[in-house]
């Protein structure tokens, strides 16, 4: 973990950094605008909320659609169950996020900024609202905080707009995309809070940041959030988390919309959004989850599938019914043992669900399941009947 850039300065465990300290450490807020957008395009910064979209290109698009009344949403929903990095950043470096949000507002010509924060992230909420009181009067007028319910899909960009506009944190049909028509019909830039923190650093240094925040979870001795250099091998992040606590069956790279990788391949994977993409993987929201060999992979997958199915916003038939059917089939295999019919149904239903929701929730779930069935192919094909331990 050489030279942190987002978490440089006081130890994050000391809590919310005050504005005076932040400014003394990093200097005043530089100017946003066209030049910053082009700088972001050149640095190749990609979003840290999951989809990994190029930041500069999105800013260009929102700036072009803005007509001087765009809206910026800083996405701190962090609905991914094992992710902690957005909370750590909001609780310890609120001014970095606010700087990034103000730079975004200046660059895309926005009049409003929304800090969209998961309502159960109490410390993050306190830190961000406390930091806001330390900002200029002009900034305080522009920025407001909106509390998001603790649901997986509440962090989807169209859901953030829907909650701000109508008080309902469910996704809406796109097009129109929020960047064309978002809050109150205005062009809206939705950007993850870590992404905005990177922008705050890049705007000051003029060069690309070369770190990412990683949450290491599951079978490690000291789970937590680590800022690692881009390109650090995945095994290096696991070492920072105290190493594996027991032999590892597989690693889930990128959170629940990510992919399963065998340990032998996983340790050397570079934690680099571009390099992972080139290998057909994704850093996603930066969660690295280790599943111990003592756990049954099929039961693990079935449990996550039940969770993801229950997080459908139940608006689209194929997502609501399809994910439930997929989760049920996984659970049947987990509890009663492999049935070839269920294996076929998993394939057929996956294909039917793919691409048929208003949002990308079903696509993410299908990707997760397909990857599980590939990595745990033998386990799925020969799973014995065992009754799930009841809670």
């Amino acid at each position: 973990m050489s030279a942190p850039q987002l978490l440089a300065g006081p130890d994050p465990s000391r809590g919310s950094e005050r504005r005076a300290e932040h400014v003394a450490r990093l200097g005043p807020l530089p100017k946003g605008g066209h030049a910053l957008i082009e700088l972001l395009v050149r640095t190749g910064l990609t979003g840290r909320g999951g989809a990994g979209f190029p930041v500069g290109l999105k800013w260009r698009a929102v700036a072009a659609a803005s007509h001087g009344s765009a809206v910026v949403i800083a996405n701190g929903a962090e609905g991914e169950p094992h992710s902690r990095k957005d909370r750590l950043l909001m609780t310890s470096r609120p001014h970095l996020i606010l700087d990034g949000a103000m730079l975004a507002a200046a660059s895309v010509n926005a009049k409003q900024v929304v800090l969209y924060i998961g309502e159960e992230h109490h410390a993050a909420m306190r830190s961000m609202s406390g930091a806001l009181t330390e900002r200029t009067e002009h900034e305080r007028r522009m920025v407001r905080i909106v509390a998001a319910p603790p649901r997986y899909v509440a962090g989807d960009s169209s859901a953030t707009v829907h909650l701000v506009d109508a008080g309902i944190a469910t996704p809406t049909t796109t097009p129109p995309s929020p960047r064309d028509r978002g809050v109150g019909g205005a062009a809206t830039l939705v950007q993850n809070v870590e992404t905005l923190a990177h922008v705050a650093v890049i705007a000051r240094t003029g060069i690309a940041t070369d770190t990412v925040l990683i949450t290491v979870a599951g079978g490690v001795r000291a789970p937590g959030v680590f800022e690692v250099n881009v390109g650090t091998p995945l095994g290096g992040a696991v070492q920072l988390a105290g190493g594996a606590s027991e032999p590892v069956r597989a690693v889930l790279v990128g959170g629940y919309f990510g992919q399963w990788v065998e340990p032998a391949e996983a340790w050397s994977l570079p934690l680099d959004p571009h390099a992972l993409r080139a290998r057909g993987l994704s850093l996603g929201c930066g969660v690295i989850g280790l599943v111990p060999a003592s756990h049954c992979a099929v039961c693990e997958v079935a449990g996550i599938m039940r969770y993801l199915a229950s997080e459908s916003s139940a608006q689209c038939g194929p997502c609501f019914f399809g994910l439930r059917a997929l989760a049920d089939a996984c659970t049947r295999i987990a509890e009663r043992g492999t049935d070839p019919g269920d294996l076929q149904r998993l394939q057929r239903w996956s294909a039917e669900v793919q691409g048929r929701g208003a949002c990308k929730h079903p696509d993410g779930v299908v990707m997760f399941l397909q990857s599980a069935m590939k990595t745990f192919g033998d386990d799925f094909a020969h799973h014995p009947a065992h009754i799930r331990r009841s809670a």
């Binding site: 049909t173 796109t174 995309s177 960047r179 608006q315 399809g322 048929r356």
Partner: protein, 76 residues
């Protein structure tokens, strides 16, 4: 070249009544739960009349014709 159209379903409005698949089975079939799966790509000229009827007859106005678009990557 003449204008080309494709069918798009609003997944949130659609509640799986299935009328569209009865009117235009050449392009629309129903999935395991009764929701329409639309064949990708532009509607052939000779099916445009039926496609328009599928759009008009949907009880919840969930299906529409729109100008066929070239897919390109767009930010969400």
């Amino acid at each position: 070249m003449t204008k080309q159209f494709e069918l798009v379903v609003d997944r949130i409005k659609c509640d799986g009544r299935g009328l569209c698949a009865e009117i235009l089975p050449e392009r629309i079939r129903l999935d395991s739960w009764g929701y329409p799966i639309v064949a990708p790509g532009p509607i052939p000229e000779h099916l445009m009349g039926l496609a328009a009827r599928a759009v008009d007859d949907c009880p919840v106005l969930a299906i529409a014709l729109r100008r066929a678009q070239v897919q390109k990557q767009r930010p969400k």
